[in-house]
Symmetry: C2
Subunit: 683 residues, 2 copies
């Protein structure tokens, strides 16, 4: 027998020259197996590989998989596709890591069986062949338990019987199945890597975020909002269909070098400061801003939110205001300047004197890591399981790898959204993680990642970008989160497109991305005035002052948003990005794409007018076959936004969208139409 690994898997015996099968080009296998794939509970994990051998012999192959914490491997047979490609699938049912690998072997019985079939068809004498087959069956019978041994014995007798129909008997599927059950794997090749898939809870794949500043939730203007006020806001947020409420940082805000309104230098005494300038004499990352309330208030908010189907997400911004207790208690965690002061943040020639970055190259990095971990754990202990991480790309990669793994040890359901608006390879890396040094410890990247969606506005841009995100290897590790706006990002498209632009971007974010979010109430109230021309900062940004929002304004998009989010909840196709594909439209201002469930029971086609100023029309050309549509059979397109139903026929169909009413159509494809034959009296 071949040797076994610790985990019980048989591996290839060294110096065995008869291992004739080859396994190559396994997918998913990210960066040569350095990084795991990602899935969520209940998903199917499909694994493919090139498998072949020398000569003409038949092969068999199996996909082996197990939970990392289990010792027992399960296995499922692989199916041969075209061009030496093989495939199999297993379901991931629990949070945590699974391992998978492949095994392949030359199947001597199946090779013999195929040869026999051809010889019988050609009318050749197969007497000797049947004896060869009997020998193969006999070998196998010796490995089988008594019942099957007896059944195999019967076949052996027939093969040796010289009966005229012995050849036909040898081809019976029953014999093939028995032989496969006890297949001879002495020279089976096991793939040289145990690959990994990390399984998260479903929200990692499908989530609907609402970002909000708690201090702006007071019922009266000019009053500092509290966590109790946030509770009052829950029905509003739940009513729009959001299931994650992400709060801007809730910690004490530094006073030294505090920024005034519109990020001006030198705050006045009434200026509230940026919540991202964390830390003051009242405490740091584990404290709550006194004007927001107490830890008890926070825990109550978490509970109340849960009752409304909402999870509270916190912001993890690992940086300090100069007043942060760390600056006094742990100056060794910062870089020092020759004059003894702590080095503030810089991006020369810009200076950010209100922010001290942590020094990840400090000799005391271990203590620093432990403390930062304790912050996340502290909030986990208060019931938080979702963290939006601010600028993770300005902290060392090994730290994230370590801390995510450490937190997930005790809180496996924790999710981390990376707010890294930076170069593409850095964004991908944060979703992968796993350095040479730390990877024995863990291989866990960020659960979700912000994207360039905000700046992808034309059809070409959207098509290119979302094809890359969903149809290439990155789909296996990078879970896109789409934000049409954030407190830092008011795009030109929103600035100049008015209310229709907000509807267009909402419809796109909510249907292109199973994970999306908005920064509200700025979004639903179509706030679109920038601080300066050419800037993406809001005028009078909520980052630096209290706001009082009129949530009941007539032009609010809250009902449109509620409708779109309901459509997302009711249509499983929109809860994953894997099936996304674009369909041609003969008008560059109209984009068309579809998503569907694997069983084709839920097929959604989205058509959006990207021009917020004019009605646009054009001819859509659907990839019928992939949507499960027959060319000759009409089908119904049910627009879930307006409840209108259209009868379409064939691939090419006409659409027209007026941005002043609704700039998008979200069609559910209804395959089964009533015909005259369906009526009772037709017959």
């Amino acid at each position: 027998m071949t040797p076994k690994t610790k985990s019980g898997l048989r591996v290839n015996k060294p110096n065995e020259g008869r291992l004739r099968a080859v396994i190559e080009k396994v997918k998913p296998e990210i960066d040569g197996g350095r990084f795991p794939a990602k899935r969520v509970v209940g998903e199917r994990m499909t694994v493919e590989a090139d498998i072949f051998t020398d000569g003409h012999d038949a092969l068999a192959a199996a996909l082996l998989y197990r939970r990392k914490s289990d010792s027992h491997w399960s296995e499922t047979p692989m199916e041969s596709l075209d061009n030496d490609r093989w495939r199999a699938t297993f379901e991931v049912t629990e949070i945590g890591a699974y391992l998978y690998t492949l095994q392949a072997w030359v199947d001597r019985f199946e090779s013999w069986r195929q040869g026999l079939a051809k010889k019988l068809q050609a009318g050749q004498d197969v007497a000797i062949d049947l004896l060869i087959g009997a020998g193969l069956v006999e070998e196998t019978a010796n490995r089988a338990p008594p019942t099957d041994k007896k059944r195999l014995g019967n076949f052996i007798s027939i093969l040796r019987s010289k009966q005229p129909d012995a050849g036909e008997t040898a081809l019976l599927p029953e014999l093939a199945a028995l032989m496969a059950k006890y297949s001879d794997r002495r020279w089976a090749v096991t793939y040289d890597k145990e690959l990994r898939v990390n399984v998260d809870r479903e929200k990692a794949r499908f989530s609907t975020w609402y970002e909000m500043f708690p201090r702006s939730c007071a019922s009266e203007p000019g009053v500092h909002g509290t966590l109790r006020d946030c509770e009052q806001r829950l029905p509003y947020v739940a009513g729009m269909g959001f299931d994650v409420l992400y709060l801007a940082p809730i910690h004490p805000i530094g006073r030294s070098f505090r920024k005034g309104k519109n990020n001006e230098l030198g705050a006045g005494p009434d200026d509230v400061g940026s919540p991202w300038a964390i830390g003051a004499k009242e405490g740091g990352h584990k404290a709550i801003h006194p004007q927001l309330g107490t830890l008890e208030d926070f825990k109550r908010l978490v509970t109340k939110a849960k009752e409304s189907g909402i999870e509270i997400a916190l912001d993890i911004a690992f940086q300090c205001a100069p007043d942060h207790p760390y600056a006094r208690e742990h100056p060794e965690w910062f870089r020092k300047r020759p004059d003894g002061s702590i080095q503030y943040a810089e991006n020369p020639p810009k200076k950010y004197q209100d922010i001290y970055p942590l020094d990840f190259e400090t000799d005391h990095w271990k203590e620093l890591w432990d403390e930062l971990k304790s912050i996340i754990v502290f909030w986990c202990e208060q019931g938080v399981r979702i963290f939006r991480v601010d600028n993770p790309h300005t902290k060392a990669f090994p730290f994230w790898e370590w801390v995510i793994a450490e937190v997930k040890k005790d809180y496996p359901e924790a999710l981390f959204l990376a707010e890294a608006f930076t170069r593409p390879k850095v964004m991908y890396r944060l979703a992968k993680l796993g350095s040479k040094v730390m990877y024995r410890l863990a291989k866990l990247g960020f659960s979700q990642s912000y994207t360039y969606f905000a700046w992808r506005n034309t059809k070409w841009e959207l098509t290119q970008y979302f094809t890359e995100l969903t149809q290439t290897e990155s789909a296996d590790f990078f879970r896109a989160s789409l934000w049409p706006n954030t407190p830092d990002i008011l795009t030109e498209y929103l600035q100049f497109g008015g209310r229709p632009a907000f509807m267009t971007r909402l419809a796109l974010a909510a249907t292109l991305g199973a994970n999306y979010g908005i920064y509200g109430p700025a979004f639903e109230l179509c706030e679109n005035v920038p601080r300066d021309p050419g800037s993406e900062e809001y005028l009078n940004s909520e980052k630096y002052e209290l706001k009082h929002w009129d949530l009941e304004r007539k032009d609010s998009l809250k009902e449109f948003i509620a409708l779109v989010n309901r459509i997302r909840r009711e249509n499983r196709a929109l809860q994953s990005d894997r099936s996304l594909r674009f369909h041609p439209v003969d008008n560059p201002e109209i984009i068309c794409f579809s998503k569907q469930t694997e069983d084709l029971k839920n097929v959604i086609v989205v058509v959006v007018n990207l021009d917020p100023h004019h009605t646009q029309s054009g001819w859509v050309e659907l990839a019928m076959e992939e949507l499960g549509l027959l060319p000759q059979q009409p089908f119904q397109m049910h627009d879930l936004l307006t409840n209108a139903r259209y009868l379409w026929h064939g691939a090419r169909n006409y659409v027209q969208l007026n941005p002043d009413t609704v700039p998008a159509q979200i069609f559910r494809v209804r395959h089964r139409l009533r015909h005259e034959q369906d009526f009772d009296y037709f017959l």
Copy 2:
């Protein structure tokens, strides 16, 4: 200091959290580093990778490389390209394996230097910055030997001097170079793999093959040719410019079940049999067919060939005629049938009773491998260094991996051409090799590989296929060998296209492929009658009978072939496939492609009419910039086949090719044209 590997390379210290640099997506890295790349002596090995870190700090990176047999690593700095991509190059100068890997580190001094430059430009006070810089230089000075320590000391004094120009001094390239020389690599990241490139002699990349049946070389018809006759044929072969003469098997031919003319069952007493039915009472794979001559004759032929600049290549066909001594002496190396006889080759319902395949699953596989190795070694001992391997894809992959490595231990200059006309992934695998089991032993694939060239006749087919072979990862491990015909392959294109088709295919093979060959004299004499309609077998194939060829026939292509081969020798661009690119032509029957040396000193543009029946014309559109051509400057196209010279201007130029004269143009691009300014009397 970080730990070192056995080979002296510093590797990453475990549990060190400050390793901030990331190295990813290294190229070449075939199948995640499982397989080595291939190069030949004198080539440059270019390595690229994604390299980045968190935040905004500057990075430095180095490419490390060494001969596998050396312990010392050399290093060359990497250069940053766009989008976090880096590149460096080293030259491989000797046959054998080289290792390479990468190192990257955050460059604190360079980060500081870039910040300082920006601050100076913005007119900011840099007093503190200069002190920070002085501290960095001081740290480095402590690592430097006395001379450089002193030079660095001078800089430190200036940085601390508060002189008004101290900032400018800090930016001097001299200081940057000194700091780079003693860069701080405490937290340098070393890539987690030592990758490999196998270096062959130049003939692996550039060779010109002529295949011939020695027994058909007699000067008189009906007489069995000898190795002495082959000697007489050498001037003819050398005259056409071939440098490899590949002989069909020269061993004794089996008599049992010998095939007659045109592969008929039941040979007559005068039938000579197929040379691939190896083995008879006179001996097996180490013996020479008595009618061909003696081992002494063979060695003499090898020597004489060498004098003509020709290497003799032998055919390695590991299969046995029933009369082969192995069948008697080692029946355990074959599969047995229940009646005690040895299993002949089958491809049901076809039977090949004249051939016994070796059983690579025999319990005695080690003895079998040793014996097969001894065959190759035997012929190496007789002076042979090139082997064309018959049907390697019907023998176990681990065997080839082992035997190629074993032979190359003593004969590193040995080359192996894989004759595997089979599925694409199997062909690629033979060029890679390296199974889990055997790869500690060696990672050496076949040196060259037959291709689908014979069946790629249209512009679309040729463009797709040769773009894949030369412009994708396969170019790093798969060296294509192009054969327009073989004794087994007389394509329809040749059958129906007449002499122009042979010229077209010769020109394509010789210019698309740095390695190519023909089976002659059938090729140069335009032999094109198939055994049956729809068959690719020759009528009265030389495989089953003696042939007498009239080499002096007027319509022989020997002079055309000699000219094409001379052009190959004189133009380095044609001696490699790496630079191949196709250029559009507005006529589907005309193909245009180019090859060039890296320094652009030799640029070849080939235009071929693929229609053997009609004159075709069209407009070629050259990718000017890549060929080193300026849009506004005329250039000369010198057709090396006709010696005609054309003045072209701009990307679009007209071509016309008459298949009845020459269906191809092989242009050398001449950049420098004489202008009126060049004449003495112009001024």
